[in-house]
């Protein structure tokens, strides 16, 4: 019985991981297409100092692609899931702060587009879903590894 529930849980983890990996790899590749546009998107939020904007624009797309790829490999799944959860929290906080300040921006989350507040709200919702998904994968993995060591 336990074995059966574990194995069905594994399938859920695998399915969620595949979904998250697809979203993060897509988002990373979309941002890589135009680093300049993405840097302008980051600057639009008015949070990151100018000295770090381009560095963030260079690092974030490979980071997202890396998270997506590492999530597909069981030994690195936990690190990738934690990174995704932290990233989702960061995206959520930044988007929410922009919405609270009354800004209408293109967050550049999935490549460049037209600035739109409804889209910012949708992306805020996506961040919540990504956070829940990645925390689910992380907690399942950490509990599983703790159980296997005891």
């Amino acid at each position: 019985m336990i074995a059966r529930s574990n194995s069905s849980g594994d399938y859920v983890v695998l399915a969620v991981s595949l979904g998250l990996a697809a979203v993060f790899i897509y988002a990373g590749v979309a941002k890589m297409r135009d680093a300049l546009d993405f840097a302008d998107n980051i600057a639009g939020f008015g949070i990151v100092p100018a000295a770090f904007i381009n560095l963030l624009a260079f690092a974030l797309p490979p980071f997202e692609v890396g998270c997506g790829l590492l999530l597909l490999w069981p030994p690195t799944r936990r690190v990738a899931a934690l990174a995704m959860a932290l990233l989702s929290v960061m995206f959520f906080a930044v988007l929410l702060s922009a919405l609270v300040r009354g800004l209408t921006l293109d967050c550049g989350c999935f490549g460049s587009g037209a600035p739109s507040r409804p889209r910012m709200w949708i992306e805020l919702g996506i961040d919540v879903v990504l956070f829940v998904g990645s925390m689910f994968v992380y907690l399942r993995s950490i509990v599983r590894s703790a159980l296997s060591t005891t």
């Binding site: 260079f58 936990r78 990174a83 703790a146």
Partner: protein, 190 residues
């Protein structure tokens, strides 16, 4: 009860150490991603500088490049003499551009001229954009001090690069205008 609590403590410690180890992995992943991003930027066809430049700063840099290193592909602007220039000034048939530094412009310039100096081209161009942009299809005549001055040619070529269709240079410049004792305006005039 005691044994249950003492059993949970090592488990909690184990969770804590695992989370710390995972956070270390996240930091390592971030560093690798930054290194990969820097390499990708370096080999890209349009590498970005390390420090971000706003769209305005990039535009300024582009405009400044136009007047510091004019592309050789652009044909030299046509030239006009004093008579033709005077007719254009009187008839207001062309946009007159003074390419000299602001300090000379303020001391005296051709009436109706706009100060688009070679020296501060980017800043002046942005300031004059509301007047210049609607005039891209109109005749434009640029002058500077006269004689051997190159500012008028550089500004004229920059305007051609920016899409102005009819740009010429009044080669006599300010020297020819003032020697002919023609009307003079002073001050910034804008």
């Amino acid at each position: 009860m005691t044994s249950a609590v003492s059993g949970r403590l090592p488990q909690a410690r184990s969770f804590g150490s695992q989370i710390l180890r995972d956070l270390g992995g996240v930091v390592l992943l971030a560093l690798v991603a930054l290194a990969a991003g820097l390499v990708m930027n370096r080999v890209s066809s349009r590498p970005l500088p390390i420090v971000y430049q706003t769209p305005e700063q990039r535009f300024d840099a582009e405009l400044t490049t136009l007047v510091t290193a004019p592309p050789f592909k652009i044909a030299p602007a046509a030239t006009v003499g004093l008579e033709e220039f005077l007719a254009a000034v009187k008839g207001k048939s062309a946009l007159i551009i003074d390419a000299r530094p602001a300090v000379f412009f303020e001391q005296g310039h051709v009436p109706g001229a706009l100060n688009l100096s070679r020296e501060r081209f980017a800043r002046d161009y942005r300031r004059l954009a509301p007047v210049l942009k609607p005039a891209v299809d109109k005749p434009v005549i640029v002058y500077c001090s006269g004689g051997d001055c190159h500012d008028s040619r550089l500004v004229a070529n920059a305007l051609l690069s920016l899409g102005f269709s009819s740009v010429s240079v009044f080669t006599g410049g300010w020297i020819a205008w003032s020697e002919a004792r023609l009307p003079v305006s002073t001050g910034s005039g804008q």
